[in-house]
């Protein structure tokens, strides 16, 4: 079979769309208008296309769209919006963790995925969780600061 209708959810919205077998999730999401998911390399090197699938961060460029049938996808725009940003998004903006912003959607998704599993990560755990997200502008310093601030807020001020 080379084409079929797939049902899946993106940012709490149901989609049913006909997709060829070779389409990646990245291609499908962007074609559906989720252009907050960025394409930086299409081979899993840069992490700009990261999305959450049932809460776990994956590179959408390495994922065939058919394989997410029936699953729930969250892109960075699904975490919050400018009127009501997700606390992590607010922390990134406030800490200057964003420069050109092209890596940001992926970095925030990877950070969120980390914090959902490890609410109080060490510095090394933060670095490890973000090692698949390349950033060429910030030098990562303020990204670490933003994630740490988030941890601090959530843990009521206790940092490991």
């Amino acid at each position: 079979m080379r084409e079929k209708a797939i049902v899946f959810e993106v940012n709490e919205r149901q989609h049913c769309t006909t997709i060829p077998s070779h389409r990646t999730l990245l291609e499908v999401l962007r074609a559906l208008g989720y252009v907050d998911v960025k394409c930086g390399c299409e081979k899993g090197d840069c992490g700009a296309c990261a999305v959450l699938v049932d809460g776990e961060a994956i590179d959408s460029c390495l994922t065939l769209a058919w394989t997410v049938e029936g699953r729930a996808i969250t892109t960075v725009a699904g975490l919050g919006n400018s009127n009501n940003p997700h606390p992590l998004q607010a922390a990134f903006a406030r800490n200057g963790a964003i420069q050109c912003g092209f890596c940001t959607p992926g970095v925030i998704i990877a950070s969120e995925s980390l914090l959902r599993k490890t609410p109080n990560p060490s510095d090394d755990e933060i670095r490890f969780a973000l090692s698949g997200n390349l950033c060429r502008c910030t030098g990562y310093t303020k990204i670490f600061e933003a994630v740490r601030e988030m941890v601090l807020t959530r843990s009521g001020g206790v940092l490991r």
Partner: protein, 294 residues
């Protein structure tokens, strides 16, 4: 992505092996996490006509200990390994290799079997598994067979798996307390990098004598290889600094590295020497410590 293939999404292992059996000469590949295969398809290094995705076969995603064996289902991801206390306890080198494996998103999808099946001599999980004497379980429609990982690879990107077979599990004997297992990956970058040289070492000891030695080397030969001559030098002896040095030099002699953009063959041999020395000495110290504690 420009490609054309049939994509099948079996719901169970039975469906998957039946689908594989129905290949009829059509170039068929199995797709697990996709972190390696999707890259190859996009680059048109492989042009499959048919893909069988394992995405829905959750029965293959498990880590369990049955008696003396620890078994990892083939679709277990690198992140699953990182979260597993059993692997941390019974496969320290494997856990260590997962800690230097790609980036988070890739770790969340890349599978143990995929890392073996991709056939890369730089595959990070393979040296640790080789050092643990792991077996590979291959399943087809008529049954399964078990192949020692040491016999699995036959050449660069070549293996004993038949077209109708699926890797379904990897298993090894739970190492005893008198066993130490270490791994180190040397790369050009600390995060998310292709291995320049990876070395995994398992040592067993009894009464101050090394009873078992495994030295597995990654990215220094067409396949991930065992440094068998070095192992033979270590087994049956009490390890001294001199002996470890000699065995490490032997391992460097045994490997067959090439020059590539990451490093020269010469440097890789040097790295094998240094890392083997360091890991064997470290593992030996682990054993010594374990002895003292017990």
């Amino acid at each position: 992505m420009f490609a054309e293939f049939d994509l099948e999404m079996p719901n169970s292992l039975d469906e998957a092996v039946l689908a594989l059996a129905r290949s009829d000469g059509i170039e068929t590949l199995t797709l697990a996490g996709g972190s390696s295969l999707m890259v190859d398809i996009r680059a048109r290094r492989v042009v499959p006509e048919r893909l069988i995705s394992l995405a829905r076969i959750n029965e293959l995603r498990r880590i369990e200990i049955l008696g003396p064996r620890i078994t990892i289902g083939s679709r277990t991801t690198v992140s699953d390994i990182l979260r597993s206390n059993q692997v941390a306890e019974h496969g320290a080198a494997l856990a260590a290799s997962a800690e230097v494996f790609a980036g988070q998103m890739v770790r969340n999808v890349a599978t143990v079997a995929g890392n073996i099946a991709c056939g890369s001599p730089a595959a990070d999980l393979v040296p640790p598994l080789l050092s643990l004497d792991a077996d590979v379980v291959l399943t087809n429609a008529s049954g399964f067979r078990t192949v020692p990982l040491a016999d699995y690879f036959t050449g660069f990107k070549q293996d004993v798996r038949r077209p109708d077979e699926l890797i379904t599990a990897i298993s090894w004997d739970v190492p005893g307390a008198k066993c130490a297992n270490r791994f180190y990956k040397l790369a050009r970058r600390k995060g998310d990098a292709i291995t320049v040289t990876g070395v995994a070492v398992t040592l067993g000891a009894a009464n101050g004598v090394c009873t078992k030695a495994r030295v597995a080397l990654g990215a220094v030969a067409p396949i991930v290889m065992r440094a068998r001559a070095a192992e033979a030098m270590l087994e049956g002896s009490t390890l001294t600094v001199e002996l470890i040095e000699e065995a490490s030099l032997k391992a460097a002699e045994e490997c067959q590295p090439i020059d590539d953009i990451r490093a020269s063959a010469d440097y890789r041999r040097h790295a094998v020497h240094m890392l083997t020395r360091r890991l064997v000495a470290g593992a030996w110290a682990d054993l010594h410590l374990a002895t003292e504690v017990s």
